[in-house]
Symmetry: C2
Subunit: 207 residues, 2 copies
């Protein structure tokens, strides 16, 4: 009951040193992604995340100075994942159809853990401090990969960037929609998405 040792005011931003705390931080980020995906930004509260992580709210604030820092961590993790997926699919010089297949497979995989996380991250982001730079940087590299792929399978250099934008947003739209209906792993959907990509990039130009 008695408080004998007066501790100096605890610092907020601690670095996890022991294995235990590292696991805690990981659990918080993971739970945060889940909450963000399931409840959206509107339902994303630090208390809810802590509870979902099976961790007290105090522990959360021991490692993340505020809500935005937590979102930032979630964003970084997810975006890194997605970027690596595109990189892998676009590596080497593969025939168009194979590229499309691997891209679809990878993108679906990246979204099946937290189906709507990507969309929430894009649409309802904080938008203010600090995240702008990271966000723009990701978008740039994201489009870059797509543009490279487009350039690889399309001769005309003219609308490469626009095509990359159209292609990426179309894919995202299909995947997001499928995620909302829990149809992410329907084989015929994957097949049709491959079909869409291939058709667009081969560009028949038929009337």
């Amino acid at each position: 009951m008695s408080t004998r040792i007066a501790r100096p005011a605890a610092r907020m931003r601690k670095q996890p040193r022991q294995a235990r705390s590292i696991a805690t931080v990981e659990a918080i980020i993971e739970a945060g992604a889940r909450v963000l995906s399931e409840l959206g930004w509107a339902g994303f509260s630090t208390n809810k995340v802590a509870e979902a992580a099976g961790v007290s709210i105090g522990s959360l604030y021991q490692y993340f100075p505020d809500k935005l820092a937590l979102v930032e961590a979630i964003r970084r993790r997810h975006f890194d994942h997605v970027l690596s997926v595109i990189s892998e699919a676009a590596a080497d010089q593969k025939p168009l159809r194979q590229f499309a297949r691997e891209l679809v497979r990878g993108m679906i995989g990246a979204h099946s853990v937290h189906p709507t996380l990507h969309q929430v991250l894009l649409d309802e982001a904080p938008g203010d401090r600090g995240s702008r730079a990271a966000h723009a940087s990701f978008q740039a590299r994201y489009l870059e990969r797509y543009a490279a792929a487009v350039a690889q399978y399309r001769r005309r250099r003219k609308d490469t960037e626009t095509m990359a934008r159209v292609l990426s947003s179309a894919i995202e739209g299909v995947i997001h929609n499928a995620a909302r209906r829990n149809m992410l792993d329907a084989p015929e959907l994957q097949k049709q998405l491959v079909e869409l990509i291939s058709a667009y990039l081969s560009g028949s130009r038929a009337t």
Copy 2:
């Protein structure tokens, strides 16, 4: 006392009889659409809508029993608009490319007033109560039109429904993405979207 959400309450509390009140109701719905599109569901509050409509909060509650009834009205208005756009584009037997062009033009038009309204309506809806039926009904008719179009330009009857889903969500993805960047009326984007639709529906099937 527990909050009562038991009743769907989709109807209006009071029927506007005079021209003045009709204009008020219209202003509320219009402002609601604007707020919903610009601030998202998280920022959609009845007070904010009333203020944006240049109307007192009391007037709002004179015609809409609760927040959900207002969203319902907004949703109905927007969805009716979109449905009519698809109908018009798919009417008659037009060549594929012309259909694609008119569809793109119409969809972009339907989204350029309140760019992200559609997406917000789909993603961050009330969720459970009352709206489920209307929502499902819209989705059904929505897909129906797309399926009809797909069947019209594609011989194989097999994956018609899946193709309709893929096509519609791809178009929505592109438009939503463009709306977020204020690029809805970039001509090259429209052209590429037409290209995407045509390519997918002509279905070159090149390996």
